[in-house]
């Protein structure tokens, strides 16, 4: 079985993994980081988005073995010292979540969007969230939150 070494939320991890183990399962089942959710089988929903080397990736469509040598950030790694990340704060302020199930993927994707395009507009947010489904909010508050979060991240 492949042995992989990676960093998850800044913590070094070495693990022997079954080849068929998905990155999402490594995080959830082996590392207990259950904030990363799995909502579909076909890469549409985006609840499983994490950052791999700073880029948003669907962790249910990546083998754990492929993550060897990478730096992973999950939703659990976003808040620092008990203080919510500005994007998390913006989601809360704007009521951009209801059941919360899509939220981790939605927030991780939004942080990546705002990092890549600090001055993004609503159209860019909509396009950027193309691979993240939410069934509760109707998206309007998510879009508002991403705009606000991006602004806060700019400082």
């Amino acid at each position: 079985m492949p042995v992989i070494s990676l960093s998850v939320n800044g913590i070094p991890v070495t693990a022997e993994v079954e080849p068929r183990l998905l990155l999402s399962s490594l995080l959830r089942d082996h590392l207990g980081l259950t904030g990363t959710h799995v909502g579909c089988d076909t890469s549409q929903c985006g609840a499983c988005v994490v950052h791999v080397d700073g880029k948003p990736v669907k962790s249910c469509a990546m083998l754990a073995a492929q993550a060897d040598g990478t730096q992973i950030t999950t939703i659990e790694g976003l808040a620092q010292k008990g203080k919510l990340h500005p994007m998390q704060e913006a989601f809360r302020d704007n009521h951009a979540l209801q059941c919360g199930f899509c939220t981790p993927g939605m927030v991780m994707m939004s942080v990546a969007l705002a990092t890549e395009q600090p001055d993004l507009d609503e159209a860019a947010v909509c396009k950027g969230l193309e691979g993240n489904l939410c069934r509760c909010t109707g998206y309007q508050n998510i879009i508002k939150a991403v705009m606000a979060g991006a602004k806060a991240m700019r400082g």
Binding site: G39, L84, H95, V107
Partner: protein, 778 residues
């Protein structure tokens, strides 16, 4: 500073855990020594099971057991009876109800029906074994359309139920309605469908069952909206007393009705967990959920509207054939009958109405409530026929609606469907929506669209709906010495935010620090009864229970305060957490009162330590009537037929608003699901084979961020209902009622010059393109 009272947009307590990935959904729970289950499902729409051979599978690595229908029947487990409130045919005989077992016994009747449960050490092992189980099927002809199912010669799904007929139902005055139609100047008729859709919460279903052989009790953790009712269902299946099953819902990732049902899987897991003496977990995958989560809507309807020469409505006649799938599910037969009947006619004044509904069996996954359960269907029916009448009679659709709305002074009124409409002001709500919609700028926007080769349309759709679900609800509060309070409620949030809004009510009434209120829901051990979630009942019934509970606490708290101040309870006034004697101006804080409630020496005679702890049950007498109005502006690309919903304006009358931020969220979420139904969502079965065609998110389209219009919302708060002490009317399902007709009618408005009169939902780009082409061809 944030304020926490009723009416404040309080940020949610639950958000912090959801945003940091520390929520606990069913799949996040991992009991020690847990085994994993997979449900082997029928690959046929209709077939006899000649035999199941699990010998090879049973011997595969990690396999702990396989349960088939034969095993199930041998245990004498019971079927799950329907709880449909409409359960008699028009002739008074009971509805035709086949036994619904947790596993197919000797015949499968829809693709996805559970055939066996496979339990293994790991999910992968169970999957591997599933492919080794040999099920010998003899295929039978299938029918998946309810209209065809009722035709002579249709495949018969049940041997002892003739013609796939479950029940029929009528409401209203048939004779009066016939008279109205005879005397009418105009009769407009339309055949339409509310297509089959599915709720698709982003969290799929799942459950973990275990059995404690020392206590003889079962424990079920389940992604459900309704722990109490489903506990009783599962206990009934297993023939155990309800007290022996502790049923808990952890954080639930959306429900929208589809997690309300008594599904087969939990009973299977409970049984198997006892048998192997280990906890067992089952998580549905997404593709499985399309086949095995309940579906919704699916009604084929003929609606007729009678008008006089001035365009005043005289009568409405609706005939619906609803698909309920292969079985009577939890309340499936209710939706196309009673559920769709009550709000017929919407907010319009009708002298006469008559509704007929038939529930028919087909070879599809059974249907159960989906957000609105009958009211969105009714709202779509009335708004489509009114729009068509306006078009056919050459009347402005806004004007036709305006003149037929129930006048404010006609309320309270009992509609011909028996719906008790107590408060509201439909014309006011309608005019406010219209005003928000910037009608003055419409002509310019039409011209701008035309310059881009696009067609723009507008429509307005007022709606009237009603609440539902269980009428009784429990609320209980237990205090601690430090002034904190633990609130327990039997209603249930699957994302709507009751963890915030219920404490808001308690904090508002008792002046308790909002942050010191904890909240428990979805636990059969925590509350003696509970109606869970459904029918927009949470705030109406659950919130009222909390208010009643708070009021009962307040009576006792005043007595304690008065005792501490040597005055009379009647002179106590509570403001911002402090009781003041109106006569002496002496005061004592609620925190002190709570502390005193734990010290016998500080309590008045007759009270004991913990005296403030209060349990109460509230019972609703009459359902309330949320209402409102949606309007939509859309752009249609005639070359491709694609529709872009640009803008929606909404005014809702939900009575008292507890938390406007959360109420807005309910409206927008409902609009998104309504937009999905209007434009893209549809569960499709292959007509011949009965196979599910839309079996994954690759084929079943959901709205995305870029599908949504700009939404502007406002509340009409001048007409709280007196039917409950909070004055609330329920907000959860309204968006689904208003959005589909507003969007569909706006598209048809955009295409009016093309002569397009009707397009069936969903208005996919191809359907719109075809409608334009066909209208052109004449």
């Amino acid at each position: 500073m944030e304020k926490y009272g009723i009416g404040q947009p309080v940020r949610r307590k639950e958000d912090v855990r959801f945003l940091t990935g520390t929520g606990t959904y069913i799949d996040d729970i991992k009991p020690d020594n847990v085994a994993h289950a997979l449900v082997l499902r029928s690959t046929h729409a209709h077939a006899k099971i000649l035999g199941i051979d699990g010998t090879e599978a049973e011997n595969m690595p990690g396999i702990l057991g396989i349960v088939t229908g034969k095993d199930w029947i041998a245990e004498d487990f019971q079927p799950m009876p329907t709880k449909s409130a409409v359960n008699k045919k028009i002739d008074g005989t009971p509805l035709n109800q086949p036994p619904r077992h947790a596993l197919a016994i000797d015949r499968v009747r829809y693709v996805g029906e559970p055939v066996a449960l496979i339990v293994a050490e790991t999910v992968s092992q169970a999957q591997d074994a599933a492919e080794a189980v040999e099920v010998d099927y003899e295929e039978l002809e299938a029918v998946t359309d309810q209209v065809k199912a009722l035709e002579p010669g249709a495949p018969q799904i049940w041997d002892d139920i003739e013609g796939n007929f479950c029940l029929d139902f009528e409401l209203g005055d048939k004779e009066e309605t016939e008279k109205a139609f005879k005397g009418a100047d105009h009769v407009i008729k339309l055949d339409l469908r509310n297509q089959c859709v599915t709720a698709t919460p982003i969290e799929t279903r799942g459950a973990i069952a275990s059995y404690d052989k020392d206590t003889g009790k079962y424990f079920l953790q389940n992604a459900t909206q309704n722990v109490h009712a489903n506990r009783d269902t599962f206990a009934g299946v297993l023939k155990i007393p309800s007290e022996d099953l502790h049923h808990v819902a952890p954080d639930v990732g959306g429900g929208f009705g589809a997690k309300n049902s008594g599904y087969p899987e939990p009973s299977l897991l409970l049984y198997a967990s006892k048998k192997i003496d280990r906890p067992i977990k089952w998580i549905s995958d997404r593709n499985e959920s399309f086949a095995a989560d309940t579906h919704g809507r699916d009604q084929a309807t003929t609606v007729e509207l009678a008008l006089d020469k001035d365009g005043m409505f005289l009568g409405l006649r609706t005939k619906t054939i609803g698909n309920i799938g292969a079985y009577c599910w939890t309340v499936g037969p209710f939706t196309p009958t009673g559920g769709s009947a009550r709000t017929q006619g919407g907010p319009y004044y009708f002298p006469a109405m008559h509704y007929t509904g038939i529930a028919a069996f087909t070879n599809t996954m059974p249907l159960d409530p989906y957000r609105g359960a009958g009211r969105p269907e009714g709202s779509f029916q009335i708004e489509r026929i009114v729009e068509l009448a306006a078009r056919e009679l050459g009347i402005d659709p806004v004007e036709l609606r305006r003149k037929n709305l129930m006048p404010a002074d006609s309320l309270p009124r009992k509609t011909p469907m028996g719906l008790d409409v107590d408060t509201g002001n439909f014309p006011e709500v309608f005019e406010r929506t219209l005003k928000m919609s910037d009608r003055a700028g419409f002509a310019k926007r039409v011209a701008d669209s035309a310059a881009k080769g696009l067609k723009r349309g507008f429509a307005i759709a007022p709606y009237l709906e009603c609440t539902g679900g269980g009428p009784k609800e429990f609320a209980g509060v237990k205090f601690a010495r430090d002034g904190s309070a633990a609130l327990r409620v039997g209603s249930m949030s699957t994302g709507m935010g009751q963890e915030t809004s219920m404490p808001q009510i308690l904090s508002d009434r008792l002046g308790i620090d909002f942050d010191k209120i904890t909240y428990v829901q979805g636990d059969t051990d925590a509350t003696p009864i509970g109606g869970g979630h459904g029918g927009s009942r949470n705030m109406e019934v659950g919130g009222s229970a909390v208010l009643q509970c708070a009021n009962e606490v307040l009576v006792k708290a005043k007595q304690i305060a008065a005792h501490l101040l040597n005055s009379n309870a009647d002179d106590m006034e509570l403001s911002e957490g402090v009781f003041t004697d109106v006569k002496t101006d002496q005061s004592v804080s609620m925190v002190d009162v709570v502390a005193a409630s734990f010290e016998q020496s500080r309590l008045p005679d007759g009270m004991e330590e913990g005296a403030l702890d209060t349990d109460t049950i509230y019972e609703r007498e009459i359902i309330s009537c949320p209402n409102g109005c949606h309007s939509a502006e859309v752009e249609v690309d005639p070359e491709t037929g694609s529709v872009n919903v640009e803008h929606m304006w909404v005014v809702d009358d939900f009575g008292t608003i507890i938390n406007p931020m959360l109420a807005d969220g309910q409206v927008m979420g409902g609009i998104a699901q309504g937009l999905g139904q209007a434009l893209m969502e549809e569960i499709i079965y292959d007509e011949d084979s009965g196979q599910l065609v839309t079996g994954s998110l690759m084929d079943y389209a959901l709205p995305r961020a870029d599908s949504m219009p700009k939404m502007e919302m406002a509340f009409f708060e001048d007409a709280p209902t007196a039917k409950n002490p909070l004055g609330v009317k329920g907000s959860g399902e309204a968006g689904c009622c208003g959005a589909p007709p507003a969007i569909v009618n706006a598209v048809l408005d955009a295409l009016k010059d093309d002569g397009v009169l009707h397009i069936e939902m969903p208005l996919t780009s191809e359907k719109v393109w075809r409608a334009i082409a066909e209208a052109k061809a004449g």
